[in-house]
């Protein structure tokens, strides 16, 4: 979706404002909201792409007016109801009305294994033959789906060069909506700043974006119109 989360290239946000000696958390509720997200995620009722997609549904004014862990909290509440772990009524009253069948909270003993996973989105490389290789010129498609996508608006219908083939990963766009693990090649694509932003961009700026193969098509050779 062309959501408010897709911030790349926007003006008007003012300077970056780093905080000296910033703590990991600023409030105790942030600690709990963070941990609740992870712990509820371990129940396996949704995947990380569904998690991102849920947060993207926060109303735009609210998204910009709130902080990161408030986005997480919004997404968590949305998913808990959507995936049937909590009813809307329970969430409103904040009182349990019945058990959830077939779900077991992750205990402290299960945590080390859960946190030290070695494989999440990566799939076996043989599941998808690469269509492109390093050095190939590609054009991103002009896609504007209402569903989830990891092709940012600023990088649509733009020509770049494959920097490297990362291998095969779960295709986020499908995973967020259907939960299906569709294997797709993921490439790092290099774009010149001037291709993305026009003549005013720095002549020695390049932007590398990780893009799934379905976002890409072969580009006409240099010298043709791009």
């Amino acid at each position: 979706m062309n959501g408010i989360h897709d911030l790349g290239g926007m003006h008007g946000f003012g300077p970056v404002d780093p905080e000296p000696n910033e703590p990991v958390f600023h409030h105790d509720w942030e600690r709990r909201a963070f941990a609740l997200n992870l712990a509820a995620g371990f129940l396996g009722r949704w995947n990380i792409d569904m998690g991102r997609y849920a947060r993207e549904h926060m109303p735009p004014a609210e998204y910009l007016a709130t902080t990161y862990y408030e986005h997480w909290l919004y997404g968590l509440e949305r998913l808990l109801v959507e995936k049937g772990l909590v009813t809307g009524k329970e969430l409103e009253a904040m009182r349990p009305q019945g058990p959830v069948a077939g779900v077991k909270a992750l205990g402290v003993d299960d945590l080390p294994k859960a946190l030290r996973n070695r494989r999440a989105a990566r799939m076996d490389d043989h599941l998808a033959t690469p269509r492109f290789k390093a050095g190939d010129r590609v054009r991103t498609k002009n896609l504007n789906p209402t569903g989830h996508t990891r092709l940012p608006r600023y990088a649509r219908d733009k020509v770049g060069v494959i920097d490297r083939d990362h291998g095969v990963f779960i295709f986020a766009d499908a995973h967020a909506v259907t939960g299906q693990k569709v294997p797709q090649r993921c490439y790092s694509v290099r774009f010149e700043g001037r291709e993305l932003w026009g003549p005013d961009a720095g002549p020695r700026d390049a932007i590398y974006i990780d893009l799934f193969e379905p976002y890409l098509e072969p580009a006409y050779p240099e010298g043709g119109h791009t």
Binding site: H11, F13, F25, H27, L85, V100, P152, D210
Partner: protein
């Protein structure tokens, strides 16, 4: 001009001790909401409060940029490790025991006199947890996410990094499940330092690409 200034002000609030009963301060809406949600999920048997405590402790005290600093320092002193690190970042980082969630597939980007790398996630705030811990507020903020891809040199200047015109700036937008760590240039004048001493010099910001590593003044 208006009273709608919720967002970025949070960045500069320091720790408010809002744990139960602390200083007898009243609980805010968001505190009450999170507390009620936790009770609900505990009562429904969906989460274990002890697991929550362990998760918080893990990411607040055990995992942080010190891990990444060790990776960088080792790469500076051990050419074979550096070679492995650039060839298969995930495996090399795992040699030091740094693996897991949000670091399953790592890519290390080497800064050189001719190339400066900087990492951003414009769509959310992806960040390599096992080597850097949880991201700072500015990394997750609108200004950083919006501007780094369109005005990287302007953003770097605000961080005090003035990249020369002859240096290429490479911005890495973490739009998929790859997680990036910048290998900063080893500062001159640190030849005699030990790996541990070098690790002390490496900051989180340098490994995101918004700072350079400086030699200590009195070395």
């Amino acid at each position: 001009m208006s009273d709608h200034h919720h967002g970025h002000d949070h960045a500069h609030e320091h720790e408010h001790d809002d744990r139960p009963g602390a200083h007898g301060a009243p609980l805010t809406d968001i505190q009450l909401r999170v507390r009620a949600l936790e009770s609900l999920l505990v009562d429904k048997g969906l989460v274990d409060p002890k697991a929550l405590d362990t998760l918080i402790d893990t990411y607040e005290t055990k995992v942080g940029p010190r891990n990444g600093a060790r990776v960088v320092a080792k790469a500076w002193v051990d050419p074979a490790f550096k070679q492995r690190l650039l060839a298969d970042s995930t495996a090399a980082i795992a040699e030091l025991g740094y693996i897991g969630r949000q670091g399953e597939d790592m890519v290390v980007l080497e800064n050189t006199p001719k190339v400066h790398n900087v990492v951003v996630c414009t769509l959310c705030s992806c960040y390599p947890w096992p080597v850097l811990g949880l991201p700072p507020v500015w990394y997750k903020s609108g200004p950083y996410r919006a501007r780094t891809v369109i005005d990287p040199r302007g953003v770097l200047r605000e961080f005090g990094v003035d990249v020369g015109d002859d240096v290429e700036v490479r911005v890495w937008d973490s739009t998929a499940e790859l997680r990036y760590l910048v290998l900063p240039e080893r500062p001159q004048g640190t030849e005699g330092m030990t790996e541990e001493q070098l690790a002390d010099l490496v900051t989180r910001d340098a490994m995101i690409g918004v700072a350079q590593v400086k030699a200590p003044r009195r070395w």
